[in-house]
């Protein structure tokens, strides 16, 4: 789509470049409100935590290589598996899928120039970074959380865990969920209000549907978690008795609140992956998604039904049969929206003309592992089977196929898919395919034998195991597999890292993609689009006439919004233009607010409540400055 920009268009683009210019250098990164730069910050931060979580996983696997191994102490092992879970869920998968992919791509896909609340977006990143550092401070002090990511009381109460370990967990996750909640609100408003003219809700890409569902799920899943965490910290720091059995408290209250958050969380982890898969498949099969409305509906339904299944984590605690049967039924019903999506992807591939480039290979791996993890997941809705296999390695196998195989594979595929868009360069295809196969077989070797271990009676979360129970051979295979897996991931990093500097230039649209982001330059300019695109189908890049019309509108100066730092607001359902929204420019307040909160949390942890209040006061001052009307920008 090479339409030469005329002189009028050139002048408009120059003006936009000036208006949207941010500070150069480090200061620019600290104060940026550009969703793409924030996305990149999220990307590298969460990858850093991914590496940390990966090292923890390798240490766990090495300790379990042979019976009675003493590579790490029991206490260190418990900290390692707790931190591995916390890191991968709260500091890697959620931030990279929503913070990095969502932030970078969502405004591009809906034809907007930024997120609805750019400063809130920046705050969300800085709060995430600070909460991650907060939680990891515990590990570097040798006092990391050590009661598992599920943190059951009374083990996690003051009586049985007197150290600060659990406070790093409680306070760190409250801090982290501030970031997540803010991000979820931002996504919802952005998706509802900033879509390009013509992108009515039924023409919105399925990727955006997935993120809409995730954002709503996050918004409703965080309150139960925060309730539980506040109860926990009140018990621990102020001597309350929410979970203290001796004073009428209830340990099971923690489990209900935690899993009321925890199970929706599983779908929060997987839904962005579904979104990425539905973005990659049409491009590489040259075909529209089969059953588009059903898939959109299924994405929403998964997020919704996900709130009604939490008790299947608690089938062994001795609840009434009728309670368990209800939740078992709900856990089976949620299979159906997942099956709809699964067969929609497969049918699209079979009836299209697939080209198995690296991104699509990761999606094939994703589908394969999602079937394995999905099928083993169904078995947990069969109550007697769940009661036999829960808390064994069978469960570890199941959720790693779902969370690693099914949630992380599309993230890795997405890295390859959008690499040319974000960097302007192409990765190495051969190395890309090799990295996929290494990771694929590494994953299968690491996690498949865990099913067998569970059936042979090996419980989860034990730092060692005795000889003579037939467990060793599978543990050896798994540990070997985990090193293959790590090699595959390092190859992904090497491929993308080298290609960043050496890759050939990719151009705007190397794949013939179907969504709007492929129409702008690679990498996109700070304002994303010189002219707000007008859309007539869910596959706007395959409507060539529309894109040519965009170019003519740029020439004429229609919807270019070049007068200021602006984007277009539109109506919720039909995306009819409502108003021109003035967007805030770069700002120091978001990072300062996050730092003040970090100070307050650190002081609560060290029980300096007075000083913590001072920091909260400072945070209020920063918020006041934030809301002070800014002078008009050029």
């Amino acid at each position: 789509m090479a339409i030469e920009a005329g002189t009028a268009a050139r002048a408009r683009i120059d003006r936009l470049e000036r208006v949207w210019l941010e500070h150069p250098g480090v200061l620019g990164w600290l104060t940026t409100t550009d969703h793409k730069r924030i996305g990149i910050l999220y990307f590298f931060t969460s990858l850093f935590f991914f590496a940390a979580g990966g090292v923890e996983a390798l240490l766990i696997r090495s300790q379990l290589l042979v019976p009675n191994e003493t590579l790490v102490s029991p206490g260190a092992f418990n900290q390692l598996f707790t931190m591995h879970g916390l890191t991968m869920i709260f500091l890697f998968v959620i931030p990279i899928s929503t913070g990095a992919f969502g932030n970078y791509l969502l405004p591009l896909m809906i034809g907007a120039r930024d997120m609805a609340f750019p400063r809130m977006n920046a705050f969300s990143f800085w709060a995430f970074l600070c909460s991650g550092i907060f939680i990891y401070t515990g590990l570097f002090m040798g006092n990391a959380p050590d009661a598992g990511w599920f943190n059951y009381v009374p083990l996690a109460g003051k009586q049985f865990s007197p150290g600060v370990n659990i406070d790093f967990y409680g306070l760190g996750l409250i801090f982290n969920s501030v970031s997540t909640t803010v991000a979820a609100i931002n996504f919802i408003v952005t998706i509802f209000k900033l879509r390009a003219p013509g992108m009515s809700i039924n023409r919105m890409p399925l990727f955006c549907f997935a993120f809409l569902a995730v954002s709503f799920a996050l918004l409703f899943a965080m309150p139960p978690l925060n309730t539980a965490l506040v109860f926990l910290e009140l018990d621990r720091l102020a001597g309350f008795d929410f979970f203290n059995i001796g004073s009428g408290g209830a340990p099971l209250l923690w489990q209900h609140l935690f899993w009321l958050f925890g199970h929706p969380e599983v779908y929060i982890i997987i839904l962005p992956a579904f979104g990425i898969a539905t973005a990659i498949i049409p491009t590489f099969t040259r075909r529209r998604m089969v059953a588009f409305p059903l898939v959109a509906l299924a994405e929403i339904l998964v997020a919704f039904i996900g709130f009604g299944v939490w008790v299947h984590h608690m089938f062994a605690v001795g609840l009434a049969t009728i309670t368990m049967v209800y939740f078992a039924a709900a856990s089976l019903i949620i299979v159906i929206p997942s099956a709809i999506q699964l067969f929609a992807w497969i049918t699209t591939m079979v009836t299209g003309t697939p080209r198995f480039k690296t991104p699509l290979l990761w999606i094939v791996g994703f589908i394969t592992f999602f079937i394995v993890g999905g099928l083993s997941g169904i078995s947990f809705a069969v109550i007697p089977f769940d009661q036999q296999l829960t808390d064994t390695y069978f469960v570890v196998a199941h959720f790693h196929f779902v969370i690693f195989g099914a949630a992380v594979f599309p993230i890795l595929g997405g890295m390859y898919y959008w690499f040319p868009k974000v960097t302007g360069r192409m990765y190495h295809e051969g190395v890309g395919q090799l990295s996929f196969w290494l990771t694929f077989f590494g994953t299968a070797l690491t996690f498949f034998p865990m099913h067998i271990l569970g059936l042979l009676g090996m419980p989860r979360r034990e730092y060692t195991y005795p000889d003579g129970l037939g467990w060793q051979v599978y543990n050896v295979i798994e540990t070997a597999g985990s090193y293959v897996l790590a090699a595959g991931l390092l190859l992904v990093a090497a491929n993308l890292g080298v290609s960043l500097f050496r890759g050939r230039f990719a151009g705007n649209d190397p794949w013939g993609g179907d969504t709007l982001e492929w129409s702008t330059t690679s990498p996109p300019p700070p304002y994303n689009y010189p002219v707000i695109p007008v859309v007539t189908s869910p596959y706007p890049m395959w409507d060539l006439a529309d894109r040519e019309e965009d170019a003519r509108r740029l020439e004429r100066g229609e919807l270019t919004l070049e007068g200021g730092h602006e984007t277009l607001g539109s109506s919720v359902l039909d995306a009819e233009p409502d108003e021109v929204l003035e967007m805030p420019a770069e700002s120091p307040w978001p990072i300062l607010l996050a730092l003040m909160l970090a100070g307050a949390f650190a002081l609560v942890l060290t029980t300096h409540y007075g000083s913590a209040l001072v920091f909260l006061g400072l945070a209020a001052v920063v918020l006041g400055a934030w809301h002070w009307k800014e002078p008009e920008t050029a």
Binding site: A291, G318, T351, Q387
Partner: protein, 339 residues
Amino acid sequence: MSRTKRQWGGVAALAALALPLLAGCENDQQSVLDPVSHPARDIESLWWSMLAGAAVIFLGAVGLLGLAWIRRARKGMPVFGENERVARGFVVVFGILIPIVTLIALFTIGNIFVLPVTQAPAAGSTRLTVEVVGHQWWWEVRYPGTKAVTANEIHIPVSTRVLLVGRSADVIHSFWAPNLNRKIDVIPGRANRILLYSDRVGRFRGQCAEFCGLQHAHMGLYVYVEPRPKFDAWLQRMSKPAAAPSGSEAEQGRDLFTSMPCAGCHTIRGTSAAGRLGPDLTHVASRETLAALTIPNNRGYLASWIADPQHFKPGNRMPALHFEGSELEALAAYLEGLE
């Protein structure tokens, strides 16, 4: 045993998946796949039938992906042409209709027919009750109606329905002896019930299945299933107070035990030692292991355990007391006599 039968079923189901499982069955004292009771057998059957169903679904779906691979980069019209209705119909049939039928069948079999089999026995339907109390990190075992108290091993008569009542003294644990039945969490403030049954004599291994802190890995137990007369004799012996020390060394050991801090945590019925924090040692010599299956129970291990309990099971509640070599010998000699 039924291993050969399972082998044929496994080969028929899916050889590639089943073979490693069978290799693992060489040692089946803590395995879901070697059930010795009706509930555990039903759960095992659920597993094999779900595996067979899952294999069909998995191979079918991967076969379709293979079809996509065969058709890769093909030019021209897609298989169904532009007819979206056929493709959508495929999604409706495989994504909605077939799953609904399959899931209803699974729900009916698992949660309506099998579930009652694995539930706690009806009140009054059992003649023998075992009370199990989870501690960090060992199991206290009591037989209500008798004075018998032991630790980390449960004896039950063969082919007898036994009610197991699980409680916790501290944090949440989970009682799990997979050959006999599914697991049940033991939770402070609650008494959870489960059926314990075996129609085969033997020793089966169990283990705490809910993460309970530092030594969660070393919280095992044995379930001994014995012929009725042997069980009755055992229970009678366990109900008696401890044997008197035989010989002067053992006597010195008893005096040490009752005068030292040992007695603050352990009970030896028939002596002044009546502590409740650690396991009852009245018949400690009759047990096969020490520290919840952590080390074998013999004189050497017993003496080195007393000398340095933190060596084998770091973090456990037993402190190292500083004994002379001769004192250790005396203590071990005494405890070794407590059959």
